[in-house]
Each structure stands twice: as structure tokens, then as C-alpha cells.
Symmetry: C3
């Protein structure tokens, strides 16, 4: 495996193989599988789970990690082309990224959406530019439009919980959030659930439709797997019989990068905070999922998050396990 | 061992066993004892020695570590209950702590006294709340009222130096400090010295008595071990025949959390800076101990700190060694 | 090997042995050579390559690392002697450095030139003071006047590329830079190239001569190796037949520590930005070297840096490899 950037790059069989390997490594640790191997991590955006789940994953297999983030170094990182570097930034990504990669056997990169230009973010321009600079295997640790490690962990979580794939009803719901959030997690999630063969509904208020390119990709995955993808702004009908509600927040495509304009339409959406009554018509054991961090009392109530529906800690723990499988496949044979 | 929170939770025999193991691991390293094991570390307060002595301890036995501190992540950590998370903090400790713990085989947590409410700090409320969120083994890396790793290292230091336990005279002395300091180290220290069976005197100016609950706990330990615990504001009589003076600074219980009020009574206590004349009546080879960091010329003079009495570097080095023993007991069998 | 501070402390045979070992470790990894060993790293100055190349080097041989930098700890580090520590800094280097060293099997220290007093920096006063506090093996990770790890990597880079030692023509060229830069890299570089037996010319505009002590040391190395050391401000004649141009920037000795005065003479030196025409009379395959970070469009043009002459990424990668050799020699036998 030379890169892990998008679940769409893998067959369903390959994804299932990764999940099987993750389970095996949990039950039967291989503390020397990656001895002498090193994972480089470049965090151009902040991280809690991703950082430490990868650090732990490598350590559990005898390997090492190192981390670079711009705030660590006073050099600053310049990314524009053809520039005269006369200002604060003392180093260009054209040197920094290949050097960082050269000290690792693989490199993981996180670079959130810049939320300046919708087209740039939807095409994952920055992440593509960064990975074009490295010739080692690379891992997407969340880019403008993808978060494949989260999706792989969520897939495993649903498998472990016995949530049905075929005929399983998956609701991806927009929730209120004080900030304008990127499309990475919702785009990865709707695609993952569709590829898993589920009947997926994107539940969101008017104005918060997911971008067409995101929906089209998910629908294509559903075609392969036998699932389906629809959207709705009707909570009650959408939640009917659902097995999972996956909460997230994302920007309005109509106001992308313009938080002030978006803020004008958001106050009346405050009730998009997932609460127990939402589950009235859902399947009895309908689960609540979220990639974390989650804002209590804003996106979801304490009672749902602290109750038996919530599997958010399990999802987070599965991040480490699926990443162990991923790193094992990527590095143990090289 | 499922937790290491307080020396009071262990028998004297168990403590001695840890020290014996620390010595064995120093002489005969076990570089694979903890291979594949990971220690999570959550630092809600700053650290130098604790951070790196644990990192080194795990690495020396083939294990790994990772660290989370609030300043690393822009998410911010909320800890209040029932709050609507509408502000800066994007993550609640109710998610963050279990997730961090789930990536480790054990978790160490540091959370200094908040110095807002004396009762809260004396009951170690925050640390108890944090550890109630984890189901892995945990280690107290200094809480509001305890610092058991420091105490274990200090115990070993005194054993190594041949400082007598029974009939050994231990002086815990308050020293001047420009800031209002917590009770964690003095509380742990007076208890440790008493439990070791020493005759302990808390030497402090009027107004800087240790809290009753701290003194009572130490007296109880003395009952078990055959030691004693008293207090005094008379340097000369207290230092008479003493084998150890352990310097520290702590808040006045009368002005807890009110630094301005405390500052009014402190200027005339500037001479509580340990100097060579203090040792006039002490045992000839009376040692100077301090947990570090120490302020030169403020809490102790250069001549004492740089002279042969000082064992502060040895104490710090012993932090790593006793923590190796602790981690070995906690993780090598699991 | 008890310290690695200056290539001048080693014979040419010893240096060649390190390079041979670096090549062997690259081809035939030894993932357990340093198991249970720990490298302490104290960064009093910022770092990208040095930090992560050492972290990776240790991990590749089964060892561990930890890092302390002043911004990590709120304690602050005081370094003045005889001071009353009544201010912000809560810890003195006289405690901090021995403690940090005591947790490692070796310590690496980075402390850039203070650029306050030329004599202090040329005598490497701060680095000498810091290393006088430790009794473990130590490594210079760039001090006021040296950067031996960079020089060892550059030596290997030239060997790997088949750049001739005897009769090889090496140009160390000053380049424009918006800031006042230290002498560490140019001093180490001119000495390294001379010790390798090359014919070295320091190319610099008037006013930017290297300090006499730096030139004298390089000339002494040339005497041993059969190389030569000269200086010039004539680009065209200097570049004639050259095999390597090594770009760097450094302060004017005439305005050391006085950036404003230096800035007055610098604007007209803007054309000291290495561009393709500089290579007109050079050897056909003349290489461009730089220790990084490099400012594009300021010190060197994009076309040179992105073209086939540039070996800057190779130099950086060799940092890790020679440091593996160094750590192997220092730690594997202990």
C-alpha cells in the first residue's frame, strides 16, 4: 500500500481485510512488527485523536514517530510558488516536506480546508500539492475533503456493533455549531456508509445541502455496494427506523468562507441539537456516532452523549486499531 | 497495580519492593520488558522532570509514550458539567480523557491545585473527577494534594544515602518564594517521611502551618511506622541533630487563593532562605533535599545548593528509576 | 566516543569510519542496536531537521528520545550566575541541565549564537558552559560557532556524489538574507571542506569576511589534509572550475549584533542571490549545497534550487544517516 488517501481507492474486500487485521492486532499484539520503522507526521492543522492514536499505533508495533507542526518551529512555512521569501517564513514547503518525508518510512499529513475557495477545497488542492512533494507512502490524516482514517474506524465500529450493512439505515445529520465547519468528515462519512451498502440519508436544514460532487461520489459508491443515498430536511421521517445517527456540522455551500453571512441564517437552527426525542421513531437500539470533538449542549445533549446510544469513545479507540492495521500493511513488508 | 495515587494506599513492604525493583532495573536493564506498551500522559499543568523522566522510563523498557497538554491543541478542554459549549473550548474532558486513556495501557495525569477553594484542593476533587473517567490503570503525576512519584523517589534517595529511617530526623522547612505555592509536595513529603519511620518536624513561620488534614494523615502514618510528626517555628532547635532538611514553599491556609493578602505577610519572611548557618546544630552530614525547580538566592543559597549537602540532582534522577519500577509492576504483567 | 562537538576533534580516518558506518546502517538496518537507550535533547534554539533527524535516528535503532525546549515549560530557564531568582524564571540551568542529562544516555544541545558579543560567540562560551554541567556523552546540535552534524552529513553527501576531495574545488558563498545570521554553519563548513582536502574559497562581498579565528582554523585543517583555503569577492574567477557552491549567509564582523548598521550596507548586495549565470565557468556538474532552511528568491533562485545541481534534500537526509552512525558509536557499546 503506497498511499491511504480515500476509501474510494480500495475495494470493499480490501477494506474488510484491513478491519480483520485490526481485530487480529488487537487480540494478538505484534510488538515488533514495525521495529526500526518511523512514521513522519506533518500537522498543518490541530489534532488530538489523530496525533496520539498514530503515536500509540506505531509504538504498539515497535516503531517510532515524530511530529512537525508550524507552531513548533519559528521558521514558518511558505507555500506560495515563485515568491521572494523576504518576510517571516524562512522555509518553503518545497524543501520542508521532502525533508520531513525523507526521515520517515511513510508520512501522514493533516491540512484542513482553507475555506477560502470552495472549488480548491473540494478538489483537495493543497493536500495533492503536499503529497506531490513526497516519494514515500503517505496517509491522509484529514484533508480539505477527506478523513479516511475516521471512516475506516467508523466502518469497524459499526461492524463490531452488528449494525447491518445491507438494509442498515444510516442518517448523517447536520447539527448546530458556532463555527463554520469543513466538509471533510461529512464527505468521508456519507461515502463510507454508502460503500458499506447502507441506506444513507443526509439530514440537514435547507441551505446546508452537501456539495453535488460529494453526493455524486457517495451515490456512485452506493451503486457498487447496493446501498442508496438520499437527502432530507425532515427529521421525523428520516429518523424512522434508523440504526445510526451520525452527527456533524458543515458549512453552507451558499456562504462558503463567509462566516458572517452564514451566521445570519444559523441562529434559527439552534434546535438542530440532537436530543432523545429525535430517536422516537428510530430503531430501538439506534446508535449515536460522532468523530469528536463534539460540543455538548450545542450539537448534542448530555443525555444522548452520556447515554447508552453513544459510541463515540469506541469510534475513537477504533481509530488506533484500524491505523495499526493500515501501518502494518504499509510498512511491515517494506 | 491498578493505580498509583498515594503512598498511603500501599504497605511499607510494597513500597520497599518498588525501591528494590528500581535498583534492579538500574543495574540490570530490561529493554524489552514493556515492548508494545504505551503510557498516555495528560498534563493539565506544566512539567519538566515528570514529563521526561516518564518518557525516558518507558523508552528504557521498550515502551512508548504520548503527551497531551491543553496548549498543544487549539480545541481547548471544557470541564464544567451541564454546560452549553458555545465558546472557545471545542472538547469536553468527558470525551477527551476516556479517549486519551483508551490509547494507552495506563494513563498519567497532572493537574495542579486550582488554588480557588481550599476544601476542593485538599479533597483532590479535580484529580478524582479526571480519574473517574478512565478505566485503565492511572498514575498521579502531581495533583492538588499529592505527588507520590516524588515521594517514592525521595524515599529511595534517603535509602541510597544511608539516612536512617528509625530515629532519622527529617525537617520539612517552608522557604520564601515569590509565588503562592500548592500543598502537593509538602503534604506528600511529610507523609512519606513519617511513613518511613522518621522523626519529622515541619518547620515554618507562624501563619504557614500545614492544613490539619495533612498533619493528621502524616501522624497516622507515624503511628504505623513508629515515627513521629511535630511542628515548630524555631529553626535552631528544629535543626538540632537533623539528618535531612527538605525545602519547600506553600501557601498560607489563612490566605489561600488570595495572593495579595499573603504577599502582605511575606516580605518579612525573606530570611527563610536556607543558608549554611542553618546547619550549625545539624548532624554533620545533614543533607539538603528539594523536589525542584528551586529558586536560587530565594529559597536556598547558591553555596548550599552547589555544596556537598545537596542531593537534588540525585532525587531527580531517582524519579526516573522508581517510575521504571512502578511502570514495570503496572504494565509488564498485563 | 564521549562527545561530538567539532570535526577538529577527530582524525580524518575516524570521520571516514563514521561515514562508512552510516552507509552500512542505511543498507543493513540494526533496529535493536540501541534498544533501551535514550537520547536527551535540549533545544535552546528552534529546529526542524535536527530535531526530527535525531528522533528518527534513535527510533530506527530501537532507542528513544525526549525533548526539552524553554517554550515547553512555563518554568523558564535562568542562566546567570549568583542571581536572586525573584522573577519569572523558576529554574536555573545548573539544576535543569544535569537533570535532563541524567535521564539520557547522551545529551544533544542546541544553543545558537546570542549575537551580542563577538568574542563570546567565537569562543562558544554558552555551549561550553552548558556541557560543563553534564557528565554524560554530549552532541553539539549547533552552537554559536559549530554545527558538526551538518558538516559530517555534507562530507558524506560529497563522497556519495563522487565530488573529488583532493583537487576538488569548493566555494563557500555568502548570500543575501534579510536577517543577521550566525557564523556556525559557515565556520563548520569551511573547516570541513578544508579537512576533506579540498581547495576552498570563501566568496563574499567586502565587509563580510569570516572572522580570522575561523579562517585560521580552516587553514590549519588544510595543512593536515593537503587542501587550501583562500577568500575572494570576485564571483567569476572564484566559480571557475568549481565542483560545489555551498550557499550561506552570515553577519558582518564589523557590525556584529548591530543589525541596523548591517542593514545599511546590505541593500546593494541583493544580487548575491545564486542564479544559473553564476555557474557559467563552473565545472559542468557543479553542485549547489545548502544546510536549509533556505529563502527562495533571496539566497538562491527557484531555478537553481529546483534544478539538477541542487542536492539540498540529499544533504538533509544524510543528517539522519550520519547521526545514526554517531549515536551507534556513542551508545551501542556502553
Amino acid at each position: 500500500m503506497n498511499f491511504f488517501n480515500d476509501l474510494a481507492d480500495f475495494s470493499i474486500a480490501e477494506i474488510k481485510e484491513l478491519i480483520t487485521l485490526a481485530r487480529r492486532l488487537e487480540k494478538k499484539p505484534e510488538p515488533r512488527a514495525l521495529e526500526g520503522k518511523v512514521l513522519a507526521m506533518l500537522f498543518l492543522s490541530p489534532s488530538l485523536r489523530t496525533l496520539i492514536s498514530f503515536q500509540s499505533a506505531m509504538a504498539r508495533m515497535g516503531g517510532g514517530t515524530f511530529v512537525i507542526s508550524p507552531e513548533m518551529s519559528i521558521h514558518g512555512l511558505e507555500s506560495r510558488s515563485g515568491i521572494v521569501m523576504d518576510g517571516v517564513a524562512a522555509e518553503h514547503i518545497r524543501e520542508a516536506v521532502p525533508v520531513i518525508a525523507s526521515y520517515g518510512d511513510a508520512i501522514g499529513i493533516r491540512a484542513f480546508a482553507k475555506r477560502e475557495n470552495l472549488g480548491d477545497d473540494l478538489s483537495d488542492g493543497e493536500f495533492r500539492e503536499l503529497t506531490s512533494l513526497v516519494d514515500t507512502p503517505y496517509i491522509n490524516m484529514e484533508s480539505a475533503i477527506n478523513h479516511p482514517c475516521q471512516s475506516l474506524a467508523d466502518w469497524k465500529t459499526m461492524d463490531d456493533l452488528g449494525i447491518p450493512a445491507r438494509n442498515g439505515k444510516f442518517v448523517l445529520s447536520w447539527t448546530w455549531h458556532p463555527r463554520q465547519m469543513p466538509f471533510a468528515v461529512p464527505a468521508a462519512t456519507v461515502h463510507m456508509a454508502a460503500l458499506r451498502g447502507m441506506d444513507v440519508t443526509v439530514l440537514r436544514p435547507e441551505g446546508f445541502e452537501l456539495p453535488d460532487i460529494v453526493m455524486d461520489k457517495a451515490r456512485q459508491a452506493a451503486t457498487i455496494s447496493g446501498g442508496s443515498v438520499t437527502e432530507s430536511d425532515n427529521r421525523s421521517s428520516t429518523m424512522q427506523g434508523s440504526h445510526v445517527i451520525y452527527a456533524n456540522s458543515w458549512a453552507s455551500v451558499h456562504h462558503y468562507g463567509d462566516r458572517q453571512a452564514e451566521d445570519k441564517i444559523k441562529p434559527e437552527l439552534r434546535d438542530w441539537c440532537i436530543d432523545e426525542p429525535w430517536f422516537e421513531n428510530a430503531a430501538n437500539d439506534c446508535r449515536f456516532m460522532h468523530c469528536l470533538p463534539v460540543r455538548r449542549g450545542v450539537s448534542v445533549t448530555d443525555s444522548v452523549l452520556d447515554g447508552p446510544r453513544s459510541v463515540v469513545i469506541t469510534e475513537a479507540r477504533n481509530r488506533m486499531l484500524v491505523q495499526m492495521a493500515l501501518l502494518h500493511q504499509m510498512l511491515s513488508r517494506s
